[in-house]
């Protein structure tokens, strides 16, 4: 009796301890980045290009570049992903083909991002001749976030009550009109939430854009989708590993990290707020 009590107590302690440890680690991480990076954040840092071998100036081209790449990735993945999800949830019949496609999507989600980078390099940069560009980078990042978007969209579509579909079909409305006019609009909040979460992923990845879009340094902003751009994650990588004055740029590295983390964090918070609002207004 006593031993059992002791065991239970120990177990509880372990579980609580792990949770606390993780919470501490996360807090520690944010505090560390904030303390180290806070000092360099200023208006100039956000709005100016790097100067003097990147030891001075700001990171504006990288912020803009990341913005373009992320929006581009979304423009690629959102339509494709939503359409695929509509097929999977509304049209595909359970069977071997469907299972095969599902497994394929899950595998795609597990592929390391550097592999996407190489895939993008081979297909978009070289084969299609887009060069290292916003276009090639967006396509590559788009493929990277495709599984997330498909998953989120399928879930959102499946969450639309069957009774809505029945009501519409029972009125003599065709299946595709039911899908586009009833099912998809009602799934939209869920689809958007999932997509916003994947924006965070696209904004933060380095490997997929390393060979397909990111420039070591450009002071000018891109003029077309065939231009290279600087990007936040790659900029951090460059400053920390490839520069000639790594120690001198240390504060700028942390500043850039802070901006990137803040950006991703902000995007996720928006997603969470949107989702909780959508949950409140939905009443089925």
């Amino acid at each position: 009796m006593k031993r059992r009590y002791l065991k239970q107590h120990l177990f509880l302690l372990t579980v609580r301890g792990s949770a606390l440890l993780i919470a501490l680690a996360i807090c520690g991480f944010f505090i560390f980045i904030f303390v180290r990076g806070y000092g360099v954040i200023s208006w100039e840092f956000i709005t100016e290009a790097p100067r003097d071998m990147m030891t001075k100036g700001g990171i504006m081209p990288a912020i803009i570049g990341t913005l373009y790449l992320t929006l581009g990735a979304l423009a690629v993945a959102l339509p494709l992903g939503v359409l695929a999800a509509v097929y999977l949830s509304e049209y595909a019949k359970e069977g071997r083909l469907l299972r095969f496609i599902r497994v394929g999507i899950r595998c795609l989600a597990g592929v390391p991002s550097v592999v996407f980078g190489l895939f993008g390099l081979g297909l978009f940069v070289v084969r299609f001749g887009f060069g290292s560009s916003i276009l090639a980078g967006s396509l590559t990042l788009g493929f990277l976030i495709l599984p997330t978007i498909i998953g989120a969209s399928e879930e959102a579509l499946k969450a639309v009550p069957r009774t809505f579909r029945e009501a519409s079909l029972g009125l003599g409305v065709s299946k595709w009109q039911t899908t586009t006019r009833i099912v998809m609009p009602n799934a939209l909040p869920g689809i958007l939430t999932g997509s916003i979460l994947s924006i965070g992923r696209a904004a933060g990845e380095t490997a997929p854009i390393m060979f397909t879009a990111a420039a070591f340094f450009t002071a000018s902003l891109p003029k077309s989708i065939f231009d290279e751009v600087m990007a936040l994650p790659y900029h951090i990588y460059v400053l920390a590993t490839a520069g000639t004055r790594i120690a001198e740029t240390r504060p700028i590295q942390y500043g850039t990290v802070l901006v990137l983390v803040g950006l991703v964090f902000g995007i996720n918070i928006i997603a969470i707020l949107l989702r909780s609002r959508a949950r409140k207004t939905k009443r089925w």
Binding site: E94, E166, A167, S168, L169, G170, L171, G172, R181
Partner: protein, 254 residues
């Protein structure tokens, strides 16, 4: 029943969910501009038969129909027939009110809009007429922009009826339309059915025998996927021919 003014007839219909035979040898006619009630214990196939009449069962995988279902003399299961056209002419009201999470106006206007009615004036008129027919107009005429989800259950069900009526169907199928409603709302819907039968043919599934007796002209009693007895409502309830029917309507089983 005598061959008369039947808008829908079924001939030796069997229906299967996979291997399970849910309906067996159903042969019956549904009279135009009359209310026909389908009664019987749970699971006897009333909903299945109802959904068979406008091909809603097509939506379930692995179902199969044998025999003929004639609507105005034409087989609705003919391969050349588009089920969408059938459902336009044979509307449906479900057990649980299922309005769309849209405004009251948009709920009623949805069907006509999809079918190409887009002039604001036409839509306004159609929505008003449908809501009037469903005896809901007076309650909602000032709140047409409000979400349908804010209405009470009974109002939602009448909205669903209005939504079906806006498609100008010939037949209205109702699957236990009042089983989720309180007695006052139920009474309103029953009154409404009385009104509607002037213009529509109504086939209603009900759990409630008093309801069948009150609203219907003909009643079919079902048991284990078969029609046991089908007759004029007054006759079926006063002088049932079959022992099983009598047992059921007197509450000895069911």
């Amino acid at each position: 029943m005598k061959e008369s003014n039947h808008i829908i007839t079924t001939e030796n219909v069997n229906f299967y969910y996979g291997d399970f035979k849910a309906l067996q040898d159903i042969t019956m006619g549904f009279e135009k501009n009359r209310v026909t009630a389908l009664i019987g214990p749970s699971g006897c196939g009333k909903s299945t038969l109802l959904r068979l009449l406008n091909r809603m069962n097509d939506l379930i995988d692995g179902t199969r129909v044998e025999g003929k279902v004639l609507f105005e003399g034409a087989d609705i299961y003919d391969p050349r027939v588009d089920p969408v056209d059938i459902r336009r002419r044979i509307g449906m009201v479900f057990q649980k009110p299922n309005p769309f999470p849209k405004s009251i106006f948009k709920n009623v206007a949805y069907g006509p809009r999809v079918n190409g009615v887009c002039r604001k004036r036409d839509l306004d008129a159609l929505v008003e007429k449908s809501l009037l027919q469903a005896s809901l107009w007076n309650e909602v005429k000032d709140i047409l922009d409000r979400s349908a989800m804010t209405l009470s259950g009974g109002q939602q069900q009448r909205l669903c009826i209005a939504r079906a009526l806006a498609m100008k169907p010939d037949v209205l199928l109702m699957d236990e339309p009042t089983s989720a409603l309180d007695p006052v709302s139920t009474a309103k819907i029953e009154e409404l059915i009385e009104e509607l039968k002037k213009d529509y043919t109504i086939i209603i599934v009900t759990h409630n025998m008093q309801q069948a007796a009150r609203v219907s002209d003909c009643t079919g009693f079902f048991y284990l996927g078969r029609v046991i007895e089908y007759n004029r409502t007054d006759l079926l309830f006063t002088t049932p021919e079959k022992k099983q029917t009598e047992d059921y309507i007197t509450g000895r089983f069911g």
